[in-house]
Amino acid sequence: MTNSSTTYYVCLFIVGVLLISCKKDTLILEEPAAYVLKVPAGFAFPEIPDDNPLNAAKIALGKKLFYEKALSVDSTISCGSCHKQAFAFSDNIAISTGVANRTGFRNTSSLANIAWAPEMLMDGGNPTIETQVYVPIETHFEMDFNMVLLVDRLSANQDYVTEFKAVFGKGPDPFGITRALAAFERTIISGNSNYDKYYHQGNNSALNASEINGMNLFFSPALNCSGCHSGYLFTNYTYQNNGYFSDYSSDSGRARITLLHEDAGKFKVPSLRNIGLTAPYMHNGEVATLNQIIEQYKNGGTSYENQSELIQPFTLTITEQQDLINFLLSLTDDELLNNSELAE
């Protein structure tokens, strides 16, 4: 081999090694196929943020993170530890348990149909699903971890590094973590209850006579339940005090965010979908049964100073009250509970 040919091959080798070793952190990705949400009949299509378009790989990564216990400081709990599919992605105890058996002060909300919620948390203190991700991760009595440390932890896991790069073109970071989790949560959709089959899908036999009577009572001007629990989501997402309690000093609700006295005791109107699965009820989980709530509404509430004017006394026969409860139970969506795409 001559000197010139040796130099030739050395040069080619150097260029080759450089090209192979050039491992960029940010990859240029092909545009993935968009994932189209399976929106139930009667539902509008939810707004999807421009910076978080849905695709299957991102949703899959979000699901993995949702059930990932490494999101908590001691790797003992995941999002799914409190938002359980069997209870419509809520919990069946008054206050869920965080790390080190710590407890907060609010009942776990259902994540079903969170894609349509205009604001997050019972008091609306957080604006989007993406930004809400910080709350459980960093709250002392929930996961008690930290976003910076979580990025470090996930970055030490080669599987996550590979998956984040495939979805976002870079390794784990706060943007990817929040976007992936939010993408998965937007797929937690519930709209195939017997009520939906009756009202939105034209199946006249999906509700029985008692449930239909209960539905008519629910929407009647006398009860006016739908004054707040309105539309296909059974909530108008306003902040109201429903007069169930007379003292809100331990949790001022919306006032915790606005610092306004007139907002004390107000909480976001919850959806009633799957309410048969989400007991116990109210912001603190102190109410065990739907009967207890209806009794309080029949009395017109406690007349707490910020109580909604829509809470007015009414009467029901025993049969009517059971019909109303039967209608509420018809809002349970078994398909949500058995959806393998959402399961751990």
């Binding site: 130099t7 150097i14 450089l18 960029k24 604006p127 706060p174």
Partner: protein, 268 residues
Amino acid sequence: MKRMHHLIVFTAIATIFVLSSCTKKEGCMDQTATNFDPNAEADMGCLYAEGGFAVEFHMHQYIGGAEFIEETQHTINGVATNLNLVQFYVSEIKLVDAAGAETSAPGVYLLISPDVEEYTIGNLPTGDYTKIRFNVGIDSITNHGDPSLYAIGNPLGAQFPSMHWGWSFGYIFMRIDGEVDSDADGMPDPEGQFEMHLGSDRYLAAIEIDYPITIGQGNENIVHLKVDWDTFYTGVDMANDNTTHVTDNEALADILYENTFNMFSPEY
């Protein structure tokens, strides 16, 4: 031989090209520059306003008449106290001339801690100034923006310990974590743990200080400020009423907020 010479030159150029493109996301990482990129991971290509001089902010922090050092014991209002974490945001820094005209350092957000004294606030025009204005905290729009849009390491990005409240969605303008003596043995202890976390738009403190300074060639171009933590704790019952996250103790938050206006002074 000439062909071989071309190959060597090509290899050299390819080496430079490949190495330069192997870097992380490139951009300007200096938030005082006009083309600052909050997501940049490799610093290059900063542009600065013409005709100015780099101005620095020096924060000299004191407590009990001595330099303030975190995680050391101090006596505050008669109570033995350890301040384990003390951080606050400074933003919207402006120099003001005698006619009242403001010259600002837009887009600069500083996360101030006792162990860092020097902060760059950017290029500001030559001139004689009489006052300095800045906010302790973060303007409303930025305060309610998404911290995930900033890279880790940016003052507005995720921090450890966190400087952001998820539950009320905004930055913690000032975070003080510490311990006081809870068992009267003269030593701070874990049972005396406290947190003073100030945030939310209402607690944005707009500070104005008389501070004559000439920015220009040959001058120091440094604003020296004294941060007096004794003033910050004026009127605070350190032993019995020492924790606030604003909404859980507005009265204490209000005291600390009012004291914020008096804790900064020129240090020449």
